[in-house]
């Protein structure tokens, strides 16, 4: 379905994402985790062709037969909202405050060739499908009349409207109440075709995804089936990340990864994690390759 090869994202001379490669099979749900600044959002935005001004992607990304990277905007915008869709982090600001909700859902369908009447009817149907109550009435309301969770459902309805092959979700539940989060996650898992799910919340990935990619410093440092990666992390960064997320007994220190994520372009050469890694050695000055079948990692001193 989706096949990404050597995706690199640059802002001028600074490399923000380096040589990222992964595949997503039809119907597969893949998580992309990492701290802020690890390059996960940029990876997603480059698949949508929505990188900010001055930021460029190279490499290849193919969705079925269609190229997503290095394609002129004119061709790319036909794919956006039809073949690939995205749900963003902030539901409160992602909808146009001056436009009725139903019209905003219908827009994505009229843009890709459906008639106005048909789009309108289907918009109501979609609002019902993302389990919004009384969809006919809700379609006529404005975004400020809805809660954050309801708005995120509207965003999901927009994303699903044209039955895209790939759904990208960028921290879709981070801004929501915990009680609403779970319902939203269940809904996403249920309706997503193929899914690329970005988050920094390990529990969320475990709940939604089958496979996970761990990013650090703009690179994928470990990837594999959720169970394996979470039960037996090999990269020292993944290991630290999992340790930091575990509940610890009262009175003990919270385990953390020492240091903090460097600014973009300030990561060390060789292994990007070596300045924070307790196992780093001379060897780590050379960049480790991502190796392994199924469960892969890029580390010279992997955990057992």
């Amino acid at each position: 379905m989706l096949s990404v090869e050597g995706l690199t994202v640059r802002a001028d001379a600074v490399e923000l994402v380096r040589e990222v490669s992964f595949d997503i099979a039809p119907g597969e749900r893949v998580g992309l985790i990492g701290e802020s600044g690890s390059g996960k959002s940029l990876t997603a935005l480059s698949l949508m062709g929505l990188l900010p001004e001055g930021v460029r992607a190279s490499g290849t990304a193919r969705l079925g037969e269609r190229e997503l990277v290095g394609v002129p905007e004119g061709r790319l915008k036909d794919l956006r909202g039809r073949e690939v869709s995205m749900v963003f982090q902030e539901p409160m600001t992602a909808l146009n405050p001056l436009m009725r909700v139903g019209a905003q859902v219908a827009e994505v369908m009229t843009l890709h060739g459906r008639s106005r009447a048909e789009a309108r009817a289907r918009a109501v149907e979609l609002l019902g499908r993302v389990r919004l109550p009384r969809p006919e009435q809700l379609a006529r309301s404005y975004p400020h009349q809805l809660s954050g969770g309801q708005r995120q459902r509207v965003m999901l309805a927009i994303a699903l409207a044209n039955e895209p092959g790939l759904l990208i979700c960028d921290e879709p539940t981070t801004a929501l109440d915990v009680t609403v989060q779970k319902q939203m996650l269940e809904l996403i898992a249920e309706v997503a075709p193929a899914l690329l799910f970005i988050t920094h919340d390990l529990a969320v990935v475990a709940a939604v995804c089958e496979r996970v990619l761990v990013m650090y410093g703009g690179r994928v440092v470990e990837s594999g089936p959720i169970r394996e990666v979470f039960a037996r992390p090999r990269h020292r960064y993944t290991e630290g990340l999992l340790a930091a997320s575990k509940l610890t007994p009262r009175g003990t220190r919270l385990p953390t990864i020492k240091g903090s994520v460097p600014a973009a372009g300030r990561f060390p050469d060789g292994c990007v994690f070596r300045n924070r890694c307790p196992y780093a050695s001379e060897k780590c000055q050379t960049e480790p390759a991502l190796t392994g079948d199924g469960h892969a990692y890029a580390c010279w001193h992997p955990a057992d």
């Binding site: 600001t93 909808l95 001056l98």
Partner: protein, 312 residues
């Protein structure tokens, strides 16, 4: 929406009443007795007293105010102490001229500012966009009357293409009317357009950073398509605020431009009234200007509600 309108309407009525009191009180406090002014320094006290009685200025201020304000509500501005002619029709004629002048200036300002501001925002990183910003900066620094004088110099004196001043009613000769108004419109519109360009630019820049524009692009719109469909209406909200303020400024600025171009508008009437010490006339014109500004604010408030469902 209806409740909002009623509230705004109540504010309009209340502030008009307050403005009436303020204008009347201010004029009453000014030294100078209309009867004494009319009769000159050699008048006998009896003659002055008789005239006061005829004008009604011998009565207590409250009853004078009631008369004046009551008349205003019915469209009667009273009779001038100086010329003995009714004030209402004079103001009516002049108001029409000033309104045409100001609205024409505003239309030109908008025709300049909306495309130029939007362009400057979209191309804010390119030399051309920066040039527009810089040019609007220069425009802001030039006062309208100076722009007027420059325009007269270029188009009337040098090129001899347009009249340097004067006003022909539209009923008499539509072509002469239009030609006569072109330069005054331009001198108001160019300067206001320059100011407005900056506001349009910053409003569009703000909107371009909004998440919902990214959503629109994620749906499959291009950059310009997203801005057109989702951005401009959002950007117009802050611009409407500035537009209202500018209209009020233009109304006052028209006083000067009317002088430069010899246009018989409200400003001209006001200055004549002041020069002739025609107190009641000045009072009437000031009241009309105040009400016009209040009305503009009312229209701005209503426009907000039409644009933004969050206010309804």
């Amino acid at each position: 929406m209806i409740l909002y309108l009623l509230k705004r309407l109540a504010v309009l009525v209340a502030s008009t009443a307050v403005a009436g009191v303020a204008v009347f009180a201010f004029m009453a406090l000014l030294p100078g007795d209309p009867a004494e002014i009319a009769l000159g320094v050699n008048a006998t006290p009896e003659a002055v007293a008789a005239l006061r009685e005829r004008f009604g200025t011998d009565r207590p201020p409250l009853s004078q105010f009631a008369d004046w304000f009551g008349g205003l509500i019915q469209g009667d501005f009273g009779t001038s102490y100086v010329t003995s002619s009714p004030i209402g029709p004079q103001i009516g004629d002049r108001l029409g001229v000033t309104a045409v002048l100001v609205l024409g200036g505003m239309v030109i300002a908008l025709l300049i500012a909306v495309p130029a501001g939007t362009f400057a925002a979209v191309h804010h990183r390119n030399p051309l966009g920066v040039t527009i910003s810089a040019a609007s900066q220069v425009g802001i620094a030039i006062p309208a009357f100076l722009a007027g004088i420059l325009l007269v110099f270029v188009f009337a004196v040098k090129a001899q293409a347009l009249p340097s001043g004067g006003y022909v009613p539209i009923a008499e000769d539509p072509r002469a009317w239009l030609l006569g108004l072109l330069l005054p419109w331009l001198s108001l519109g160019l300067v206001q357009g320059a100011v407005l360009t900056r506001y349009v630019r910053s409003a569009v820049l703000d909107v371009m950073r909004e998440d919902y524009l990214r959503t629109a692009r994620a749906k499959g719109r291009g950059r310009m398509g997203a801005l057109w469909r989702h951005g401009l209406r959002n950007a117009s909200i802050p611009v409407v605020t500035v537009l209202g303020l500018q209209l009020a400024t233009l109304l006052v600025g028209a006083v000067v431009v009317e002088r430069v171009f010899v246009i018989p508008g409200l400003g001209d009437l006001l200055l004549n009234g002041v020069a002739g010490r025609d107190l009641l006339l000045v009072q009437g014109v000031v009241m009309v200007l105040v009400v016009a500004v209040l009305l503009i604010n009312f229209v701005v408030d209503v426009t907000y509600a039409v644009l933004d469902p969050r206010l309804r």
